[in-house]
């Protein structure tokens, strides 16, 4: 890796606010200004003097326990040694960091730390990137006077399925325990014992099961904590790395992807100030093993005589083109093709597929969400908040699933806003979540009745729902009236129609016109896919089909004639009214055309769509199924054609997170076998359909997105390559967005705060010194242009009509919208309503194909209100029979007092005692109702 400098440019410290609260002091003879209240160590670092440290971490509170950062500070009784991480800068003080006295103190601390630290660097994962090794070399005494026996422990001991502990290596800096307690809020590890027998450990039998445990491995300044997947797998100096964005969920944490011999060896969190502060969740950190999987699809396959056989791309794409044409013909229109999925694609892939589907095939039945999100135009039409704005707000109202399960690092950010800041949380949820203990008020609603609760908050005269405590409701109203309100909107339950939640969201949007919104849709690049138009009724750049018709017709030659179907309706239509197994509806198909062909883009509806029966009927009923996938999932058995696609870390491109932040994806690997990048498959398929998308490289795709998609206007490749834009650029570009992030693109990251991540190579144009300023000015101009909106007609691709009148850029979506909301019939007294929530570790490919994570998938019980359980005469842990109109399952029941009466909850896509919750959900019903019986 790169040379390590002992003095670095500051990594992520904020320049002092010069106007006020400023302090001037002398640092090694120089005059330095700092913010009042700042710690000496941070002020010195910004001034270019790096003081050695172990326990200090810029993202956690100072504790001053390791004494490595001792410096001389002048005081009334002369200069004395003080820990610079624990002393605030004081006006006029004189600080010396390089005196003999300081040197002697550093020698002493290091000699002391090495008394018990084993010298097993050659067999230690941290060797080569170890702060103890490096600082001993730079500041240590060079020899030790200690000749006695060092302490020994059994090594290593597993403290969870993911983390191993070598206790004798620990230097007792308390970074891991502080992370667990302060940042994650789960003190599952602690110091046990005392003095030379002090060790880090778990409580016997209670593993370090935090979703964030991997961060302790990353910040441990020695090799005491190591990760199971990485242990002994590589030496840091053999690793190659690139900066990228995690696309396991849509928070979009910045990561350093490190690889060796065309395999990812590990992911490390990068401290992106606006997003993840260096933290990752364990799923994002370890899911890369699915990319390394031996099972990866490497060649296109076509079903011949009932079996999938390997063919050339040429043949496979011909078969696909024929199949799609046949479906269109048979259905009498382009609506015969339905495209499902796309949240795993890059923005470029999503755009190319959208252009193929909507511009070439002409079908609008395209949906990147798998019936687990919210109506796309509602989400895209809301005024957007950034994560920083949510964390810094007065009140955040959360109407979504459990954020710790769905968008883990967003949970950390919000939790920190509440615990360390002044943020108040109002939670609207059918059940308790990980945020509930932090909520100022947590209000319950009956599945299907979110709107009723939203109205009660919006309108003081509205009746309080029976599920909400009146005092709590009053408090929620008060908090919702605050100045800065951010509303986090997602899908609290997969057994409740997204339109019902969207309706509640719109009630809040109307009532709180100043509020901004943060979507909590969890799939990797779902926000990018929706922005690129992979949703019915949408075109790229957050534009509706009708408003964008002229602009995109001009650019693409064609757009769909009318609004198409979403995933649920596509599947329903493909299943057909006669479609076997328990078909419940006999509705005429919208648009007349029955969906005959399904193109499934890197998704697995069989396990990941709320209604399993509907998917089975659709796959049985469809004439032709194409799966674009990287791993052979259960879907392969139903596919007529399987096209192997490159995965994360194997293709460059961009991704868009929940904030609308566009960031670069790095490429570090060559994709296996014959697999292709996502955009290329669409572009080549277009050729086989007799058309040409005029997109020949990922850069060309981006340029076209920038030119055509209004929300992405001005975000050119050179803007994305600006050093200050390393952490991404929020779309749409506004003049104020030019402030960007505070991480200077080319500065090395603090090697002690995040060992292992040093100057990361960025994908794209290499940043060059001196360009930053010029580019920032350019961005301001771009932003101004983008804001003006009307920058002429889109450039017209060959083969399209160039004669049409020049039109203005279409407007971006702006809600609120009229949406069709299903009517919820009140529950009869025998039924209960189902809540199906997401868990972090589920049967999705990112977990199931990763051995270390697959073992963490929980077995979920059915959670029932204790009174309802009593009424049934079943004790907690007993069996309960759950019946729907078409099926019944025997599940294990546990009492959950957080649930309202007549509401039961369980988890989606995880094993239950019998079957899965997708067997119970009816995706055509607004809410899923069940009967509970004794088995």
């Amino acid at each position: 890796m790169v040379d390590r400098a002992t003095t670095t440019e500051p990594a992520h410290t904020v320049p002092p606010d010069v106007a006020e609260g400023q302090v001037t002091f002398t640092l090694d003879g120089r005059q330095v200004t700092a913010r009042k209240g700042e710690m000496l160590i941070a002020a010195a670092e910004r001034a270019g003097t790096f003081i050695p440290r172990f326990c200090y971490h810029p993202r956690m509170k100072s504790v001053g326990v390791c004494r490595m950062c001792l410096v001389e500070v002048s005081g009334p009784r002369g200069a004395s040694l003080q820990p610079s991480c624990f002393v605030e800068v004081a006006e006029g003080s004189e600080v010396t960091t390089d005196s003999d006295k300081v040197k002697k103190a550093q020698d002493g601390v290091l000699e002391f730390l090495l008394i018990n630290h084993p010298l097993d660097c050659p067999v230690c994962d941290k060797g080569g990137e170890c702060p103890l090794q490096d600082q001993t070399l730079a500041h240590g005494p060079g020899e030790t006077r200690f000749v006695e026996e060092k302490r020994h422990f059994e090594k290593p001991i597993p403290i969870s399925e993911l983390v191993l502990l070598d206790r004798e290596r620990c230097i007792q800096c308390s970074r891991c325990t502080r992370f667990a307690a302060e940042v994650a809020g789960e003190a599952q590890i602690d110091f046990i014992g005392r003095a030379d027998q002090l060790e880090i450990n778990i409580f016997p039998g209670l593993p370090f099961s935090s979703y964030f445990s991997g961060n302790t491995v990353q910040i441990c300044p020695v090799g005491a904590l190591t990760a199971v997947p990485y242990r002994f797998s590589a030496r840091p100096w053999d690793l190659d790395q690139v900066e990228s964005t995690c696309t396991t969920c849509s928070v979009g944490c910045r990561v350093a992807v490190q690889s060796s011999s065309n395999r990812v060896t590990r992911l490390l969190g990068i401290d992106a100030d606006p997003v993840n502060h260096g933290w990752l969740c364990d799923k994002g950190r370890f899911a890369f093993e699915s990319v390394n999987s031996e099972d990866r699809l490497t060649e296109p396959m076509v079903r011949k005589a009932g079996r999938l056989v390997t063919v050339s791309w040429h043949e496979a794409l011909d078969v696909v083109a024929d199949g799609l044409r046949a479906a269109t013909k048979k259905s009498g229109g382009p609506g015969g093709v339905g495209v499902i999925g796309g949240a795993r694609l890059t923005n470029e892939g999503a755009y190319t597929w959208a252009k193929l589907a909507k511009g070439i095939l002409g079908t609008d039945s395209v949906d990147a969400q798998l019936g687990d999100g919210l109506p796309a135009e509602v989400v895209l039409g809301l005024p957007r908040a950034t994560i920083d704005e949510a964390v810094g707000a007065d009140t955040v109202i959360v109407l979504s699933g459990d954020i710790r399960e769905e968008l883990p690092v967003l949970f950390l950010r919000l939790r920190s806003g509440i615990v360390d800041g002044d943020l108040s949380l109002v939670e609207l949820s059918p059940q308790a979540t990980a945020l509930t203990p932090h909520a100022a008020v947590s209000l319950r609603y009956l599945p299907g009745a979110a709107t009723e609760l939203a109205k009660a908050i919006a309108d003081h005269g509205a009746p309080a729902p029976a599920t909400a405590d009146p005092t709590d409701l009053a408090e929620a109203r008060r908090l919702a009236g605050a100045d800065k309100v951010v509303i986090v909107v997602g899908r609290p339950s997969l057994a409740e129609d997204g339109a019902l939640v969207a309706e509640a969201v719109q009630v809040l949007a109307r009532a709180l016109p100043k509020a901004t919104f943060l979507p909590a849709l969890r799939r990797g690049n779902v926000m990018g896919a929706l922005d690129m138009g992979l949703s019915p009724g949408l075109l790229p750049g957050r534009v509706g089909l009708e408003p964008g018709r002229q602009w995109f017709t001009q650019a693409w030659g064609k757009v769909p004639d009318e609004r198409g179907l979403g995933t649920t309706e596509i599947l329903e239509s493909a299943g057909g009214s006669t479609g076997g197994e328990g078909a419940r509806t006999d509705k005429p198909h919208r648009n007349g055309a029955r969906v005959r062909a399904l193109v499934i883009l890197g998704a697995d509806p069989l396990t990941d769509f709320p209604d399993a029966g509907m998917v089975r009927r659709a796959l049985a009923g469809a004439d032709f199924v194409v799966s674009v996938a990287s791993l052979p999932g259960p879907l392969s058995a139903h596919a007529d054609v399987v096209l192997p696609v490159a995965e994360a870390h194997e293709r460059p491109g961009t991704t868009t997170n929940i904030e609308g932040r566009i960031s670069r994806l790095g490429q570090k690997l060559v994709q296996p076998g014959q697999s292709w990048p996502d955009w290329m498959i669409a572009a080549e398929l277009a050729v086989h359909l007799g058309a040409d998308l005029h997109l020949d490289s990922v850069a060309e795709v981006w340029d076209e997105i920038e030119r055509l998609a209004p929300a992405y206007r001005g975000i050119t490749r050179s803007v994305l390559d600006t050093p200050g834009a390393t952490d991404g650029v929020v779309a749409p570009l506004t003049v104020t967005a030019v402030a960007f992030s505070r991480r200077p693109g080319s500065a090395p990251l603090d090697p002690i705060a995040f060992p292992g991540v040093e100057s990361v190579e960025q994908q794209g144009a290499p940043p060059r010194a001196g360009l930053a300023g010029a580019r920032t000015a350019g961005i301001a101009a771009n932003a101004a242009n983008a804001a003006n909106g009307s920058k002429g007609a889109p450039e017209v691709g060959a083969g399209t009509s160039g004669d049409a009148a020049v039109t203005n850029q279409p407007p971006q979506l702006a809600g609120p919208f009229e949406i069709t909301v299903p009517r919820v019939v009140p529950t009869d007294s025998y039924s209960v309503r189902l809540v199906a929530s997401r868990r972090l570790y589920d049967r999705g490919a990112a977990v199931d194909a990763v051995p270390v994570l697959a073992g963490l998938i929980p077995d979920s019980p059915l959670r029932v209100n204790p009174h309802d359980l009593d009424d049934l005469g079943i004790g907690t842990g007993g069996n309960v029979k759950v019946r729907t109109a078409t099926t019944s399952l025997v599940l294990v029941a546990v009492a959950d007092p957080s649930l309202p009466r007549k509401v039961v909850a369980t988890d989606f896509n995880v094993p239950l005692a019998e079957g899965t919750v997708a067997d119970l959900i009816d995706a055509t019903a607004p809410v899923t109702e069940l009967r509970l019986e004794t088995p």
């Binding site: 399925e161 602690d190 450990n201 939790r415 203990p437």
Partner: protein, 236 residues
């Protein structure tokens, strides 16, 4: 060791009342007393050490189950309770016999034959220092200065002084402990002194806040007065 078996513990709530946690091992009277103790402090966590002593009275040591109960009472994690309990010598996270016999081997006692006494104890009891006899009657412990240097070599049983011991008197002591002859004077290990605080602080958060505010106010006034004086001086 799977997460399925151990769901993530609930994050520590800020100030939620919630239903009382279900205790699995702390007995009724002890649990009641525990709640009384917690009420004495403005922060529940401050009652951690008193609760450890209280719980130790029940079984003579802090079993994992009891530590989990303490954690539940205080909104801590079991790991945090273990972290504190394992720090203190008088809190035991391993089983202890009904009599904890501590032999001091620090300087004054050393000079008066403590090592010989300890060796004698080890051989007659058949355990090494730190061990517990098979009948569970005695745990032998080597201790640092017990502040009884005037009666060296100093021995304590269940933290009660039993005076300087010789090999013979030590054997008699053990026999008496086993027979229960000194039960009235030396209750079994963990038994607390019955001088328990029942009234007193019972601190009320508002009252504490008010007092702190008043203190801050007074401080500010003093600072202002000092500034005035200084200004006057400078003026003069």
């Amino acid at each position: 060791m799977s997460n399925a078996a151990h769901p993530t513990p609930v994050d520590r709530p800020r100030s939620k009342g919630g239903p009382a946690p279900a205790l699995t091992h702390l007995g009724g009277a002890t649990a009641t007393r525990a709640r009384e103790l917690i009420a004495l402090y403005p922060e529940p966590r401050s009652a951690l050490i008193p609760l450890c002593h209280l719980a130790q009275e029940q079984e003579g040591w802090l079993s994992p189950e009891i530590m989990a109960d303490i954690a539940a009472l205080l909104d801590l994690t079991p790991a945090e309770v273990l972290g504190t309990a394992s720090f203190y010598d008088m809190l035991h996270t391993e089983p202890v016999g009904s009599h904890l016999v501590s032999v001091c081997t620090n300087i004054a006692c050393l000079l008066n034959g403590a090592m010989e006494l300890l060796e004698h104890a080890e051989s007659t009891l058949g355990v090494n220092a730190g061990g517990t006899t098979a009948d569970g009657a005695v745990t032998l412990e080597e201790a640092e200065c017990l502040a009884g240097c005037d009666g060296a070599p100093c021995v304590q049983v269940n933290h009660r002084y039993v005076g300087a011991q010789t090999a013979e008197s030590f054997d008699q002591l053990i026999a008496d402990l086993r027979s229960g002859a000194r039960a009235a004077e030396i209750p079994t290990h963990g038994t607390l002194n019955r001088v328990a605080r029942t009234t007193g602080l019972q601190a009320d958060r508002d009252q504490i806040a008010n007092e702190r505010a008043a203190m801050a106010e007074a401080q500010a006034q003093r600072a202002a007065a000092a500034k005035d004086t200084a200004a006057n001086k400078a003026g003069a």
